[in-house]
């Protein structure tokens, strides 16, 4: 009697399992913030409605530890199907062999022709193969405080780096706690250093920020010294001493409180400024160009990849495709603060034609001035470089190391890392 009951209940249990066969996809994001999580959840729930029986479990680790978590998860084959990968960690994850080659999927993907030019190429930094599909791009532009610049008689944002330096210097008055340039000394300042430094060049390799077109390391070029001198001057003459210890949060804090009205930042800064600063008080302009008349921005991007051990790869691809469809992509970029990867979105949604996007649009439309290039992200020493770059730059700013010394150190580092 007892046995029969047991068998029966077991059968019922198994049967109910078969009927309600539910597929769960596990998905992890990297650039977590409470706002971003809400936006993602909305997109996920819409997708679930369209695909009954599919559930997506979103994992949102704190940003600073996210990569370490992903490394550990994939190295032990924890259940994970869709992984967010940022440009800076793409090669390391791909080299672990835990990301699925997406080329076969891309070959069959109709919407790929609408992607912004260069987006797919930048996704192929590891061995020429795409292991992720970018879902948004990030490009730095110049955020400036209209109200404060006007107070000092400036109607327009600066157009060149030198103009910016003069403006920032004129504004700076420590006794009033007014400074010019919103400097970043801590927490991955690499892009800030390079944007100023390379604006003194006119022949940067379009595929490598650290090489000139004839294949020489930029650090050994006399123009690098000029550029770096300007960067140091921006710190010494126009930025608060304290900013050597500033990361993203302090930068935004100083901008929002008006202490430093000139800030280089990514579009996701908009998301934070939305609550803290009235719209009419700031504007966004194209990056100032150097004496060469050029500037060398890079595309930053993040996107979704599929783990090589996922059991539901096709379904995961369905989700990625859905995420990059123009409506969803528009919603995503608008709410979170990023630039869409689908060209159609810029025409479809008036938001991306508003004055906030003027700076970026101008940069995209003037390739002769803004020559997009890329970082040597596939190099295994890239992570180590960020640490060294930050620490040695701080030494220069503090006068503990000369510009010549640091350039030599950087050149040696990259020679040893096999860049040339």
């Amino acid at each position: 009697m007892k046995l029969r009951f047991l068998v029966l209940s077991l059968l019922i249990f198994l049967f109910s399992f078969l009927i309600a066969e539910e597929i769960t996809l596990n998905m992890i994001q990297v650039f977590t913030s409470p706002l971003r999580t809400k936006v993602l959840e909305k997109i996920i729930s819409d997708f679930e409605k369209m695909h009954p029986g599919v559930k997506i479990n979103l994992i949102s680790p704190p940003y600073e530890t996210a990569y370490q978590k992903i490394y550990l998860m994939v190295s032990t084959n924890q259940p994970l199907d869709i992984v967010e990968v940022g440009d800076w960690s793409l090669s390391s994850l791909a080299s672990m062999g835990k990301l699925e080659n997406l080329e076969p999927y891309i070959a069959k993907w109709e919407d790929k022709k609408y992607l912004l030019p260069g987006v797919l190429d930048s996704a192929r930094i590891y061995k020429g193969t795409a292991y992720l599909i970018p879902n948004a791009v990030y490009v730095k532009a110049l955020f400036y405080r209209k109200d404060i610049l006007e107070k000092y008689g400036y109607k327009e944002p600066p157009k060149t780096v030198e103009e910016m330096y003069e403006m920032a210097k004129n504004i700076t008055d420590p006794s009033k706690n007014q400074y010019g340039f919103d400097f970043r000394g801590k927490g991955f300042p690499t892009a800030f250093i390079d944007l100023i430094m390379t604006s003194y060049f006119d022949d940067i390799d379009p595929s490598n920020m650290y090489l000139t077109k004839d294949g020489k390391l930029i650090f050994e070029d006399p123009r690098a010294k000029k550029g770096l001198e300007m960067y140091v001057k921006l710190y010494r003459d126009t930025a608060p001493r304290d900013s050597i210890n500033w990361g993203f949060d302090e930068q935004v804090n100083a901008f929002a409180s008006g202490i430093t009205p000139l800030l280089y930042q990514d579009p996701d800064t908009l998301g934070l400024l939305k609550d803290t600063l009235p719209k009419e008080k700031f504007g966004i302009a194209p990056l100032p160009v150097g004496p060469s008349g050029k500037a060398y921005p890079t595309f930053g991007f993040a996107g979704w990849g599929i783990t090589s051990y996922s059991k539901h790869k096709d379904l995961a691809w369905e989700f990625i495709k859905y995420f990059n469809s123009p409506e969803v992509n528009a919603y995503w970029c608008k709410e979170y603060g990023a630039l869409p990867v689908d060209k159609r979105v810029y025409d479809m949604d008036p938001y991306f034609n508003s004055e906030f996007f003027y700076g970026w649009k101008y940069m995209f439309n003037h390739p002769e001035i803004y020559q997009f290039t890329a970082y040597p992200l596939a190099n295994e020493k890239w992570g180590e470089w960020n640490n060294l770059h930050e620490k040695t730059m701080q030494k220069v700013l503090l006068g503990k190391m000369s510009i010549d010394e640091v350039l030599k150190k950087w050149a040696d580092f990259w020679k040893k890392a096999g860049l040339k």
């Binding site: 000394g185 304290d242 050597i244 210890n245 640490n387 930050e390």
Partner: protein, 293 residues
């Protein structure tokens, strides 16, 4: 009978020993092994033993001597001031006064905060530009120019130590206060009769009586402070220009920036060895190997 005695001891010890063995010692062994390998994200599929290469790389790092120096400063001054101020606070609170319960809650709460939160909040408070501490000191006319607590390499280490002292006072005060309460009243009263003054009482009776507590608390505290990167990580990440870089922060930076888990394990093993040698000496000097808390 002997078997029964053994079983009794064994069954009471095994839960703790099991936990410590499985969750601390076994992973430590694994971590030591890891430090002799080349485990980075790039070599994930070809992990092999590389002998002492990671250790050599660490010792040959040009900033290593500075990091060791900073670590010694960090530990020495943190623990010294935590102890002195904690001891003073305990003495001040020894004699009951009205509202002592509430007072102790308000003065001991830093102990209940997490290191990460402390680092974060204090780096905000000590910001050289819009920090509240600078603002207050200005308003009170104590300073005329902002102090760059965290960006001036000469002051940064001092600032993070200050925060660590703030965090560590309560622990010492609680331990010492508890020990003070245990001094038998008769002992103090007999000193009163002998006409001893307060200072004499402090050095002749109080300190000798609570010496085991002081010795052990300092021992443990030094171990913990050595292994406590949270505050510095939250405030300066070891900067500017390595002026606040200590061994445990160095270890995290290697794991985070370089994703080189073997090299960071090597730093961990170095920390562990230093602490082991230190503890052995400390115990040799202060007691005859008999500990209590």
């Amino acid at each position: 009978m002997r078997l029964k005695r053994f079983l009794f001891i064994f069954s009471l010890m095994i839960p703790t020993l099991g936990l410590v063995g499985i969750l601390s010692f076994y992973p430590t062994l694994k971590g030591i092994i890891l430090s002799f390998q080349n485990y980075t994200v790039f070599t994930f599929n070809r992990i092999e033993f590389i002998g002492f290469d990671n250790y050599i790389e660490v010792f040959e790092d040009p900033v290593f001597p500075e990091i060791v120096k900073n670590t010694i400063f960090w530990i020495l001054f943190s623990v010294l001031f935590q102890f002195l101020l904690g001891f003073s606070l305990a003495l001040l609170m020894w004699k009951p006064f009205r509202g002592r319960g509430i007072y102790s809650g308000l003065v001991f709460y830093p102990w209940a905060l997490s290191g990460f939160a402390i680092g974060l909040v204090w780096s905000w408070l000590l910001n050289g530009q819009f920090g509240v501490v600078n603002d207050l000191l200005m308003k009170l006319h104590i300073i005329r120019n902002n102090i760059n607590f965290l960006s001036d390499p000469k002051k940064a280490l001092f600032s993070v130590i200050l925060v660590n002292v703030w965090y560590g006072i309560p622990f010492f005060a609680i331990m010492i206060l508890a020990a003070l309460q245990s001094i038998p009243r008769s002992l103090l009263e007999s000193a009163d009769i002998d006409g001893a003054n307060s200072i004499a009482k402090l050095f002749k009776i109080v300190i000798p009586y609570i010496k085991p507590t002081i010795v052990n608390t300092i021992l443990l505290r030094i171990i913990w402070v050595m292994n406590f990167p949270d505050i510095i990580y939250g405030m300066t990440r070891g900067g500017p220009a390595d002026s606040t870089n200590i061994l445990s922060v160095y270890m995290i930076n290697i794991a985070y920036y370089e994703s080189n888990f073997s090299k960071s394990s090597a730093v961990g093993v170095i920390i562990l060895s230093i602490l082991f040698i230190y503890t052995t000496f400390y115990l040799k000097i202060t007691s005859k190997g008999e500990f209590e808390i």
